[in-house]
């Protein structure tokens, strides 16, 4: 049986290493359960790579390319352990010696989808898996929506690689925009005439991603802000 010792908890503010502003507090969980070896407060910068569970070949290649460039620049890859783009993002980080965080919608002692059990074990052993749900929590579909908001909150920026009109990634996209954080949408998705959501998100501040290296320009470093006019 899973125990508190096996899955310790941390205040979200301590996980991020700073208090939250009023906009961030709105949907922020108080407590985060975690398993893994990553330092706390979390290293920066952190970028979410998210998207559909049924990616095209191009989507898979784009997720790999964006993840690789970020990893080469010591950016931590955040994703949701789902099938498809999420799995590609985590696996690309592992293969290329990067760091990755899975923000899951189930308690830590459960895995969804089941086929990612080994991936979750690997992330718990060598990276980090976090959940806002205690081990006795009964999972409902809404939990994944709330998880997506949490994923937006712990990420300095988010990238939607490929997603349909009903993708859960869109919840994260809207929350990223609400927080005022950069939301990138891959160019091929923006210009896909079958999709309405990219145009709508662009109207509300999402950025069309031309070159993955452009993401680096808006990411924070570990260097602190200087004191001003002292």
């Amino acid at each position: 049986m899973a125990t508190e010792t096996e899955y310790p908890s941390i205040d979200l503010r301590n996980l991020l290493g700073r208090p939250l502003n009023d906009i961030e507090e709105k949907y922020a969980p108080e407590i985060i359960y975690y398993k893994g070896v990553m330092q706390k407060p979390l290293p920066c910068a952190r970028v979410s790579i998210i998207g559909t569970r049924q990616p095209s070949k191009e989507g898979i290649l784009a997720a790999e390319e964006v993840s690789k460039i970020l990893i080469e620049n010591q950016v931590v890859i955040v994703s949701g352990l789902a099938k498809g783009i999420d799995t590609v993002a985590h696996e690309t980080a592992i293969k290329n010696g990067g760091k990755t965080i899975a923000v899951i919608g189930t308690p830590l002692n459960k895995t969804y989808p089941k086929e990612n059990t080994k991936l979750q074990e690997e992330l718990m052993k060598n990276h980090l898996v976090i959940s806002q749900y205690p081990i006795d929590h009964k999972t409902t579909p809404k939990d994944f929506v709330l998880r997506n908001r949490t994923m937006a909150l712990i990420s300095d920026a988010s990238v939607i690689v490929e997603a349909g009109e009903s993708s859960g990634s869109l919840y994260q996209g809207w929350e990223t925009l609400r927080l005022g954080r950069p939301l990138f949408i891959c160019k091929s998705v923006v210009h896909n005439p079958k999709l309405k959501w990219p145009k709508e998100m662009i109207e509300y501040g999402a950025i069309e991603l031309d070159d993955p290296a452009d993401i680096l320009e808006i990411l924070p470093s570990n260097v602190k802000m200087p004191e001003l006019f002292q």
């Binding site: 906009i23 109207e203 802000m225």
Partner: protein
């Protein structure tokens, strides 16, 4: 658009691509401001910078911008805005008024159509032009006609948003003296960046379709 030149004050600078510790610290300041992060001291970044500014205001060349007649107008985001969304210029104007700088904060300039952005535009030449900003904004009526207006933005790059906004405001309030203030300005060339603290007065000028910012 009738106005082709605007004076602006600015407090801080940052560069998007600098590798020095100073440049990275300034970029952190920019990101903290853009997210209005709470600093380890428990204060919002907008409030922290405004408090620092208020302490030294009389030493800055733009001190007179924030006189008791000055109505502070937050610059709209380039996108449309849903309720409960972070809007940093509005948080800056609120902090300025709270700290005794200016008469009131009036969110009377709004974006009615979005101006799309793409990555690589942080310093790129293909940024939206002032005319596009002008065409995408409108002014909401105020009960009293302001004598002086300061259009306040968080970060300035080329000044196209400011120039478009000032033209809209000047149409609605033709008798008002209008200037602009930006908390930070972007130094595109990292070699030209010297320090995060660099208070100045400058100008934004139209050249054909483009805008040029000095300094």
């Amino acid at each position: 658009m009738n106005i082709s030149k605007v004076e602006f004050g600015s407090l801080l600078t940052y560069t998007p691509r600098g590798d020095s510790e100073k440049a990275k610290g300034a970029k952190t300041a920019m990101i903290n401001l853009k997210n209005d992060n709470v600093l380890s001291s428990g204060i919002l970044t907008s409030e922290y910078i405004v408090q620092a500014m208020a302490r030294e205001i009389n030493t800055f060349p733009f001190a007179d911008y924030f006189n008791s007649n000055a109505v502070l107008v937050p610059a709209p985001k380039s996108s449309l805005l849903k309720p409960d969304t972070l809007w940093v210029p509005q948080r800056i104007t609120t902090a300025l008024i709270r700290n005794g700088l200016g008469k009131s904060s009036e969110a009377c300039l709004e974006r009615v159509t979005a101006v799309a952005r793409s990555s690589g535009q942080t310093v790129g030449a293909n940024r939206p032009k002032a005319l596009k900003h002008y065409e995408s904004m409108r002014v909401k009526e105020l009960l009293f006609k302001p004598k002086e207006i300061v259009l306040v933005d968080d970060v300035i790059t080329r000044g196209a948003t400011i120039l478009g906004g000032v033209n809209r405001l000047s149409e609605a309030f033709p008798d008002a003296k209008i200037r602009a203030f930006t908390m930070m300005r972007t130094i595109s060339n990292a070699e030209e960046f010297s320090d995060v603290e660099d208070p100045c007065i400058g100008t934004i000028t139209m050249y054909g379709e483009d805008t040029s910012r000095v300094p």
